[in-house]
């Protein structure tokens, strides 16, 4: 592996072949000769482990985006390669994969991880290695200031923004007394904390918090804790047991009286809403990051995106109608890849010596209109918090399909900056 995309001279180790090419660094012809060499991007993939179901669709979406990108000429006229490495959805392995992609494969930048604990476990190494690390995670960790200046989330909105944006519509249309059911770990706690604050700001109140331990496989025993006065049942569940949760909710209530139900599609990613046992979801509402069912007013970009990734109008794979996509999250890979292109072209990126310029170029981005590169919708990027903001969607299950009933404004999800990464050193 002697492809060279420029090693900074401060590296004190000797790589085979390095000696030969190191002298080439001094030659003026080097930059010219290297500019047609491919740009290498590393993708930290959850191919195995608890995130594998998402990982599969992340990989598909990234491959599709890569093809489109290369068909359009790549970045700065250079072809782009993506190297996938499995991190097993494990933080320790994640840090090692970052290492491998940056140091061994010589990637210009790394993107892709979803699960928060893996992101937080891997980000320090990315910061130490000074490699741009663009996560596709929807966690609040980037914007919270806990990570480093090399870590960014330009392709997907974060949970705090999502949850905050839901509060106005929920309190105005569903009810003001909420019971929340959420997993008893960090992701769930974020929902608990931010939604409780956001709904209080709308004049509503969360009357009961029901935290469910992470490895729970049966939820019936928690359902009696839902108070009778509940107007809205808010649920967000993650993991293999989500279908059980929804089914048991249905068994518990049956066709009798029930509160309004508002869930996050995380509860049903990769699951068909028309599955048997989910009939009671009819008439309930969901947050969607990206509408799974193709809506009547879908843009041409949306159509193009679906065709490229191989997803039909119901959000399932074109080749297998039962293989439902993780549609609300996977667009992050597509949009992040195109953000990398935009950033590299704005920075005039040539080699890894320009990584810092790339980060600064992305930090300088502000409004990003909807386009083929951004099929989910308009975005606003906050260069200080390294977090992108966008529209959120609320859908209603009608005849077994999710139909959009509301689109939030980008401002609905905004919150005060918790950090200014641009003041930090690289």
């Amino acid at each position: 592996m002697t492809k060279l995309i420029g090693m900074t001279p401060s590296r004190r180790s000797l790589l085979k072949g390095m000696a030969a090419t190191a002298s080439a660094l001094a030659l003026p012809g080097f930059v010219q000769a290297q500019s047609s060499a491919p740009i290498k991007l590393g993708f930290q993939l959850h191919r195995t482990g608890i995130g594998a179901a998402y990982g599969r669709w992340y990989e598909r979406t990234t491959q599709a985006a890569l093809k489109v990108l290369n068909d359009q000429g790549g970045i700065n006229g250079r072809p782009v390669e993506v190297i996938f490495e499995d991190d097993g959805t494990d933080p320790k392995r994640g840090a090692e994969v970052v290492e491998k992609l940056a140091s061994q494969a010589g990637c210009d930048a790394i993107f892709g991880p979803l699960f928060s604990h893996v992101v937080i476990g891997s980000a320090p190494r990315a910061g130490e290695l000074k490699v741009p690390y663009l996560v596709c995670s929807e966690g609040f960790h980037v914007a919270s200031g806990k990570l480093n200046r090399w870590t960014m989330q330009p392709g997907i909105t974060d949970v705090r923004a999502q949850v905050t944006a839901m509060a106005p519509w929920v309190s105005q249309n569903l009810g003001k007394k909420i019971t929340m059911v959420f997993p008893d770990y960090a992701f769930g706690h974020d929902h608990r904390d931010y939604f409780t604050a956001a709904i209080a700001a709308q004049g509503g109140e969360v009357i009961k918090h029901i935290a469910i331990p992470p490895t729970e496989t049966s939820f019936t025993r928690y359902l009696p804790q839902i108070p009778k006065e509940t107007e809205v049942l808010y649920h967000v569940m993650v993991g293999p047991a989500v279908l059980t949760f929804v089914k048991e909710l249905g068994e518990f209530y049956g066709t009798g009286a029930r509160p309004e139900i508002f869930g996050f599609i995380d509860s049903l990613e990769a699951v068909d809403t028309a599955s048997p046992g989910l009939e009671f979801l009819e008439g309930t509402h969901f947050w969607e990051g990206h509408c799974r069912v193709k809506q009547a007013d879908a843009s041409e970009h949306e159509t193009f995106y679906r065709a490229a990734v191989g997803v039909d109008d119901n959000g399932a794979s074109i080749s297998d109608g039962k293989d439902v996509a993780t549609y609300a999250h996977m667009f992050s890979c597509w949009e992040t890849l195109f953000m990398i292109k935009a950033g590299m072209e704005a920075a005039g990126y040539q080699s890894t010596a320009d990584r810092q310029k790339f980060v600064e170029a992305v930090e300088a981005m502000t409004t990003i209109p909807a386009s083929q590169a951004h099929p989910q919708g308009d975005k606003v990027f906050n260069g200080k918090t390294h977090q992108v903001f966008g529209h959120q969607f609320i859908s209603k299950v009608e005849s077994g399909k999710l139909m959009r009933v509301h689109t939030t404004s980008i401002e609905d999800g905004m919150y005060p900056d918790a950090v200014d990464y641009t003041t930090m050193a690289f």
Binding site: E85, H117, E128, L147, Y185, F187, P213
Partner: protein
Amino acid sequence: MTRALALHIAVLVALFAAQYFLPPYHHTNIARIMVLAVFAMGYNIAFGYTGLLSLGHALFFAAGLYATGLGIELWGLSAGPALLLGLLAGVAIAAATGVLALRTGGVSFMIVTLMFAQAGYLTILYFGAYTRGDEGFVITRAARNLGGVDLSSDTPRYFAALILFGVGLLVNLALTRSNLGRSMIAMRENEERSRMLGYNPFRIKLTALVISGLYAGAAGAAYGVLFGYVGASFATIQYSILPLLYVLLGGAGTTLGPFLGALLMFYLIDISSGYTTAHLFVVGAALLVLVLFAPKGILGWVRDKGAKWLP
């Protein structure tokens, strides 16, 4: 100088020299492996030498990791005192666990240690307000600094890991030669006979477990400071099985076995994931091959084949 001591010194010298030749990727890997080898050596002291099959060592590692991490992030300690705190946490938790768990033996002991480790993991989640639960937290880069040396940069980190590993290795070697070490082996071989000879099995096993906890806690504390992340995934059962695998692969009851096992296991996974996405299969198959054809581990096999002096 005995052959054994010479061998150990040679290994340490080789590791020291290696840092000038290793490509950056492998450089950090070896640093990681050395810290994990300390964890495995601790496990070996309990399992390989004393015969205590524990499935709860993740608890001791996590105790060191969290004590150090929380010390720095919550209580504002600097790296030095925080590392010490981590060490003490490993010792304390091992002692507490041992006092209760060593009333049992065999499979019951295994389950009891497993249960304690599970309870530890759940406790980390329960106090999520401080520990950030499963998500974990980052140790600020500025705090990863011992006496002015930035442990988050590659060369000092490698040195720190090497020093930790070297000390652990040589202490382990000394331990096997000492009376305590021999009595630990006696416990493993035949507890009843040792008791008849006047040894107190409970006290010896507890001492072994506490030393084991010291190593594990030290490894956890070091891992936090050197690599910057503290998370509940380190307290799960996978991290109790990991040192067991390293030790069994490298050779239980040998001093260099844990390091060899850690090294080989790491690269087995790393290299196989370059060829196939089914690397779980490779690991599983490797374990089967190992246990069928080299049940004493690699160094155990070497020792049997003639190198009887190998400690």
